[in-house]
């Protein structure tokens, strides 16, 4: 718990509420990331994001969720010692010098789903899944990170804020301003990430919140009250443009390399009605993970080239 157990070697990032350093745990020589939470300038005391991150990471223990190794206080600053994860999925997707195969995509998706499954089993919603928050360990393991927006699954009457998840990965119920939602919002994000892995460009890049609604339904069709009966209860529903859903052939053309099982899985996660959207268990037991090719073993997944 002592600060002297760790060295802070290099500043690697700075956000609104934290500075991240790379360091070493002296006793084990293990490389770590130290997130120093800024405390001055927050008039309401310790920041909510920091509280959430500490709260949820303390409870989880899974190979596909970032490990919180230690927490300590130094010079009146809160320090989170996290496992050191040098890359993220966004970097890999954007790096055009890296080629990856369907087996690689399957492996990353599998690890993402396992991480999400663990969160949901613990009744925790991540609420900010995106390639940038899927970190990659040197041994190829993918880990869910950044729990600054996470929360417990709400009880039935509890009102939740719909202003969560980075725009491009936001589920339709959130776009409509739903006050009650479930783990299905995380599954939508995973579906969009899956599409992005296959396309290698963001799948639903809305320019603003209004545009996001348009982009989403143009790509996937505007939901109707036939497949989502509660939809007309959202006040904004009547004001939106109607688009027909894409035909299977259109999807096949857009995702040229995807197998039928891959498309089934993606469409399962991108189902408009959150009640019918596939949950992690249904995804993990889907045909896609049984058919060939087998997912690449994590150690052999593509890595960032050394700069």
């Amino acid at each position: 718990m002592m600060q002297t157990e760790y060295s802070k070697e290099k500043k690697v990032g700075e956000g609104t509420y934290a500075v991240v350093y790379v360091g070493t745990k002296y006793s084990t020589n293990r490389k770590v990331a130290i997130k120093e939470i800024k405390t001055s300038g927050f008039k309401d005391g310790l920041d909510m994001s920091a509280i959430r991150e500490v709260k949820y990471l303390q409870e989880m223990n899974h190979v596909n969720v970032i490990e919180l190794i230690d927490v300590f206080m130094a010079q009146n600053n809160l320090n989170l010692v996290l496992e050191f994860l040098p890359a993220d999925l966004e970097m890999i997707i954007k790096d055009s010098s890296i080629l990856f195969t369907n087996a690689d995509i399957k492996s990353w998706l599998l690890m993402t789903l396992r991480g999400v499954h663990h969160c949901h089993r613990n009744f925790i919603l991540h609420r900010d899944l995106k390639p940038n928050n899927l970190l990659l360990a040197p041994d190829g393991q993918l880990k869910l990170a950044d729990f600054g927006l996470a929360r417990n699954m709400g009880s039935p009457q509890e009102i939740l804020t719909s202003n969560v998840v980075t725009r491009w990965y936001r589920a339709p119920e959130l776009l409509f301003g739903a006050k009650h939602y479930t783990g299905a919002i995380d599954m939508w994000s995973v579906g969009v990430i899956f599409a992005e892995l296959m396309l290698r460009i963001p799948y639903l890049p809305g320019k603003d919140d209004i545009d996001q609604i348009d982009v989403t339904f143009r790509a996937l069709g505007t939901p109707t009250d036939r497949d989502w009966p509660e939809i007309s209860t959202f006040s904004t529903y009547n004001k939106i443009q109607f688009y027909p859903p894409p035909s299977r052939d259109e999807l096949r053309r857009r995702f040229a390399a995807a197998t039928e099982n891959a498309l089934d899985l993606m469409c399962g996660m991108l189902t408009m009605n959150p009640h019918k959207r596939w949950d992690p268990t249904k995804c993990l037991t889907s045909e896609f993970f049984v058919e060939l090719p087998e997912p690449t073993v994590p150690e052999e997944l593509p890595k960032l080239n050394n700069k």
């Binding site: 005391g45 310790l46 909510m48 709260k55 409870e59 809160l78 613990n122 009880s155």
Partner: protein, 363 residues
């Protein structure tokens, strides 16, 4: 291979399935990994020892301070020294316990007055009690971290209230609320997740109606639910929270509310009565007897728990004032001396006009 012999040979995935089942992480595994279990669950002996150690450490420091005070004040009269011996005494383990529980109770009723959600109130009480499993009331008096705890519980339960408006509502100041926030977080060992028995109550409320379908009245069940909710809130102030899991506490509350209903439910759920037909009709004697055994074990556990949550622990107001005064005197020996001096003056024939004036102002 007894486990696989009962499997139909037509299913080729049978063996694979069995292997997978073995590796599966159970809900029990998840709870065992929770901070509530890892750091905040104890045996009665462990908990007792912990309280003794915390008290002893603070008492030692208090005695040390007293000794230093006496050495620094050689001018003390015999009367003053006697008063010190009598008044400036560290509080006992039992007194600490009474005081902390009183404030834990207060924090719940205060949260109620502020219309805060049940879970926030429960977490605040839990935080306060955990804080005093690390610190002694002689280190920081409960009054001083009372609002800090409630404010922090709001944040931790995602029920954010800005510190300014919180201070206004509680007639305190932002500075005093935030002063000990870090100390609180550190004392909680940076673990904030609290599993309370209320969620389990909702689950059992539904499951009892499923298992005893047609045999229970919904209106009556609603009454059971509301009464159990109150019992659970009281149970949060007992040591049951350190010895039992949240659903065990819930079952104990249900048992206390309606013994016949709860026993019937558990009997059916766990096939406790031999030869009773299984829910799905076909029964496996090995699994059945295991289930029965688990059911009986559980019943024993929740009977134990019921006994603990049924214990009354009400402390009288004057007792609390006495403890508070004891802490004050033991931590501020100077105040004992001043008290002696005041008493001497007021009992002397010619009262000091200045002193009585001051006293008047005070009152």
């Amino acid at each position: 291979m007894t486990a696989t012999t009962s499997e139909s040979p037509k299913e080729p995935t049978g063996d694979k399935e069995a292997v997978r089942t073995l590796q599966r992480v159970t809900d029990d595994d998840l709870y065992r990994h929770s901070s509530q279990y890892r750091l905040w669950s104890f045996t009665p002996e462990q908990l007792n020892q912990r309280r003794i150690d915390i008290n002893a450490r603070a008492a030692l420091r208090t005695d040390q301070n007293l000794k230093e005070f006496k050495e620094a004040h050689k001018e003390l009269t015999d009367e003053e020294l006697t008063a010190l011996e009598l008044k400036a005494v560290p509080v006992t383990v039992e007194e600490e316990y009474m005081l902390v529980n009183y404030y834990a109770k207060m924090i719940i009723s205060f949260a109620g007055k502020m219309n805060l959600p049940t879970e926030v109130a429960a977490t605040a009480a839990s935080f306060l009690r955990r804080f005093y499993l690390v610190n002694s009331v002689m280190d920081i008096v409960p009054k001083e971290i009372f609002y800090t705890t409630l404010f922090f519980a709001c944040k931790s339960e995602n029920y954010f209230i800005g510190v300014e408006s919180f201070a206004k509502k509680t007639k305190s100041t932002p500075e005093s609320i935030l002063k000990h926030e870090f100390k609180l977080l550190e004392s909680l060992q940076f673990t904030l997740m609290n599993h309370h028995p209320y969620k389990a109550l909702h689950g059992f409320f539904l499951d009892i109606q499923t298992v005893l379908q047609g045999k229970v009245d919904l209106k009556y069940m609603g009454q059971v639910y509301n009464n159990c909710k109150k019992t659970i809130t009281d149970a949060l102030l007992t040591d049951a929270v350190y010895f039992f899991t949240p659903p065990q506490i819930t079952l104990a509350a249900l048992l206390r509310e309606d013994e016949a209903l709860t026993s019937k439910y558990l009997e059916l759920k766990f096939n406790i009565i031999k030869d009773a037909p299984n829910e799905d009709g076909n029964s496996d004697p090995i699994i059945d007897s295991q289930k029965r055994l688990n059911g009986r074990k559980l019943l024993e556990i929740i009977r134990n728990c019921k006994e603990i949550i049924s214990r009354k622990n009400s402390t009288k107001q004057e007792e609390l004032s006495r403890i508070a005064a004891k802490i004050h005197f033991s931590q501020n020996p100077q105040s004992v001396i001043e008290r002696v001096k005041r008493q001497q003056q007021s009992s002397s024939a010619t009262p000091d006009p200045e002193e009585s004036q001051r006293k008047k102002q005070k009152t």
